[in-house]
């Protein structure tokens, strides 16, 4: 099974759960606008870049993630978020690899330029332990299938250490760090966003360094600068340095493969001339 199909199912399930049970503020029109724009822009870009075929999976993943995270009163901005996410994949590339996680790029770009008209609600998930557990299991499956669980594990280890470490230093009861970590937003980020195998560094050492940098900066933004969405800002900023990390720690480029799952990546596939058809 293609890991992306699995990922699409999980994200769709989360969207239904969020809208049906957690009262996510997502007007149906907005979801349609985001998904429609993501798919159409993917189709147009596939044509412009003369890809062999149009593949909806990656665009659907970006679109669903945006539906879960992006909040705005304006349909046009929601559509713009989807368009930026997809176009960013094609335009912002370095040696044949796109730089930003598409969803992260769409969110960060709009939050930067719209003066608050686009926002992300990290509190929307609540922190029911059941929900966290469920997400962790589902997410865990997704990453393992995508064979990049190292980045998720490294990120979570660093982030947990920082959050628990700070609470221990301050003498806070354990319920405080636990409450902070039992967050759907954190799990979604760790298992579905930072784990994106197409944007993380190529080598394992690079990925672990990347995860540690993202975790440290996210913690700093959240708990020292007191800004919300530290995770998103941090991932956006450190994505710019992935080429540097790849140079310091070279490794084979990741390719989405349906089968067999254990097929080793071919180093040659990382050259720009051999771009995979699927983005």
């Amino acid at each position: 099974m293609d890991p992306r199909v699995y990922q699409i199912s999980v994200l769709s399930g989360l969207l239904i759960y969020g809208m049906g049970w957690l009262e996510f503020d997502i007007p149906p029109g907005q979801a349609v606008s985001i998904l429609g724009t993501a798919l159409s822009v993917q189709w147009i870009c596939s044509r412009l870049w003369k890809l062999e075929r149009f593949d909806a999976r990656s665009a659907l993943i970006s679109g669903l993630s945006l539906c879960l995270l992006l909040r705005t009163n304006h349909l046009l901005l929601a559509a713009a978020g989807a368009a930026i996410s997809i176009v960013g994949k094609f335009l912002i590339r370095w040696r044949g690899k796109h730089l930003f996680n598409p969803t992260n790029l769409g969110l960060v770009a709009l939050m930067l330029v719209t003066d608050g008209a686009v926002w992300v609600s990290p509190g929307q998930w609540g922190n029911a332990a059941f929900f966290g557990f469920l997400m962790a299991c589902l997410g865990g499956l997704v990453v393992m299938r995508a064979a990049r669980s190292d980045v998720t594990l490294a990120f979570l280890t660093c982030y947990l250490a920082l959050v628990f470490g700070r609470s221990l230093y301050l003498g806070e009861p354990l319920s405080i760090p636990l409450h902070r970590l039992q967050s759907g937003a954190l799990l979604l980020f760790a298992f579905f966003m930072i784990s994106d195998p197409r944007t993380t560094p190529d080598s394992r050492a690079g990925r672990i360094a990347f995860a540690a940098l993202v975790a440290g900066s996210a913690w700093y933004v959240q708990f020292r600068l007191f800004h919300t969405n530290g995770l998103l800002w941090s991932l956006g900023a450190w994505s710019l340095f992935v080429p540097v990390i790849d140079r310091l720690f070279p490794g084979p480029r990741y390719q989405w493969v349906a089968r067999p799952l254990a097929l080793p990546d071919q180093p040659g596939s990382s050259t720009p001339n051999e771009q995979p058809a699927l983005l």
């Binding site: 003066d115 926002w119 029911a128 409450h179 600068l225 007191f226």
Partner: protein, 432 residues
């Protein structure tokens, strides 16, 4: 003399911590206030500038009143004011959940609706031995001044033991368990704003109650410390938070903010029992969410309201809360697009709300208010098919209202049906 120390923060804030005192204060008020032990906080936020106004429901002896509030910076005298209690009551009444009545017209006249506001105010219902010892204990009195009826100290401390000792020695009763909380704040370089009542000046003000305190500071932290208020507290506390911001709705980033059910049609008898109804509705909603969310009760541009549950607040009133960016005429309401009001309501304790509330201002400008709808059916002779259809649909509509009410409040459906059946609707549509 030992004073009961109201440790809390901004919010539940003034609740005196001694348990026996707490119960004593509110028992007699249970039937006259919709929510007991309620504190109200107004937060006006513009960039990093925050003005925090706190009103409590304290009805004990003024001499026993004291409050300790963690604040992010040293507070100078110019930054502290006593606020007008009436203004907070006004804000409360203006944003409170309300009943709206509709009178159905003759369906043959195309069922145009007339709306009457019977705004019900939910809260109608509603509701020295200083310096020497300080140094040795690592406590520094950063500022000392009086404002209105309050004597105020701003303290910084090196460790919680010293602070606890100092407070105890100076007549403040510290609840057990406050030490670790104080300690974690001290490590974050937080200062402590300590206020108690000066009886002479209180007498000279002529007020029979303690006026709200307002404190201004600059900080990137948009939050409300509630942890001290939950130490040793008996049962959950009720808190109303009103935020005044430029851009849009405010929500919490570390807890869910959920909108309460709105525009639900309920049986007409609720008109005479609104306080009871709303209290039970809120309790039921809390139960459904396992007391882990903040409920949004109102989110609206202050430039207009529909229907208005009270007269709009003026620029002057809003500026007094800290909305200094308003420049309109003092006695007029602000223009549209100038200031956005969010009203959050929560019930909290340490188990369900372990950490302080952290907020963010969103760009959400969609208006929201909690309304409960009473629909007065048209009663007349059917002269056309539309009217016959209308009348035929009425029993189903009444049943739906009963079901809504049972769902919202948990009341028994059979007794709802009986009360609805027995209710005599004397209301008449307003003359045009």
């Amino acid at each position: 003399m030992i004073k009961h120390l109201g440790l809390a923060f901004a919010t539940a804030v003034f609740a005196p911590l001694a348990a026996h005192a707490f119960c004593g204060f509110y028992v007699a008020k249970a039937d006259s206030k919709l929510f007991n032990r309620a504190s109200q906080v107004v937060l006006a936020r513009d960039g990093n500038r925050t003005v925090l106004t706190m009103a409590n429901d304290y009805h004990g002896e003024p001499k026993d009143f004291a409050v300790v509030i963690p604040v992010p910076t040293v507070i100078r005298k110019e930054a502290v004011k006593v606020a007008d209690k009436a203004a907070i009551d006004h804000l409360d009444a203006y944003s409170a959940p309300r009943l709206v009545e509709y009178f159905d017209d003759d369906p043959c006249d195309r069922m145009e609706e007339k709306m009457v506001v019977a705004a019900v105010d939910a809260s109608e219902a509603k509701r020295e031995k200083h310096a020497d010892g300080a140094k040795a204990l690592g406590v520094k009195i950063e500022e000392k001044f009086s404002v209105g009826e309050y004597d105020i100290l701003v303290l910084s401390a090196k460790e919680s033991d010293g602070l606890e000792t100092w407070l105890t020695e100076n007549g403040y009763k510290i609840p057990r368990g406050a030490g670790p909380v104080l300690s974690s704040y001290i490590k974050q370089n937080v200062k402590f704003f300590v206020a108690k009542v000066n009886l002479e000046r209180h007498a000279s003000t002529g007020f029979t109650y303690l006026r709200p305190l307002s404190v201004e500071f600059k900080t990137p932290k948009f939050m409300l410390p509630i942890r001290l208020g939950t130490v040793n507290s008996v049962g959950p506390q009720e808190l109303f938070i009103y935020t005044l911001t430029r851009k849009g709705r405010v929500e919490t980033t570390n807890y869910r903010s959920v909108k309460l059910a709105t525009a639900v049609e309920v049986p007409l008898f609720v008109r005479d029992d609104f306080s009871h109804f709303y209290r039970d509705l809120f309790a039921r909603a809390e139960q459904r969410e396992d007391m882990r969310v903040l409920f949004t009760e109102y989110a609206w541009d202050m430039g207009w309201c529909d229907p208005c549950a009270a007269d709009p607040l003026t620029n002057n009133e809003l500026r007094a809360f800290g909305a200094d960016w308003l420049h309109g005429k003092p006695t007029e309401r602000p223009e549209e697009g100038q200031v956005f009001l969010t009203r959050l309501h929560l019930r909290y304790d340490a188990e369900h709300f372990p950490e302080d509330l952290v907020f963010q201002e969103t760009g959400d400008r969609e208006n929201f208010q909690v309304t409960c709808v009473l629909r007065h059916p048209w009663k007349g002779k059917a002269k056309c098919p539309a009217a016959r259809e209308y009348l035929a649909a009425q029993p189903k509509a009444r049943e739906k209202e009963a079901e809504n009410l049972a769902h919202l409040t948990g009341w028994n459906i059979d007794s709802i049906r009986e009360r609805a059946e027995a209710y005599v609707d004397k209301a008449r549509p307003p003359k045009e």
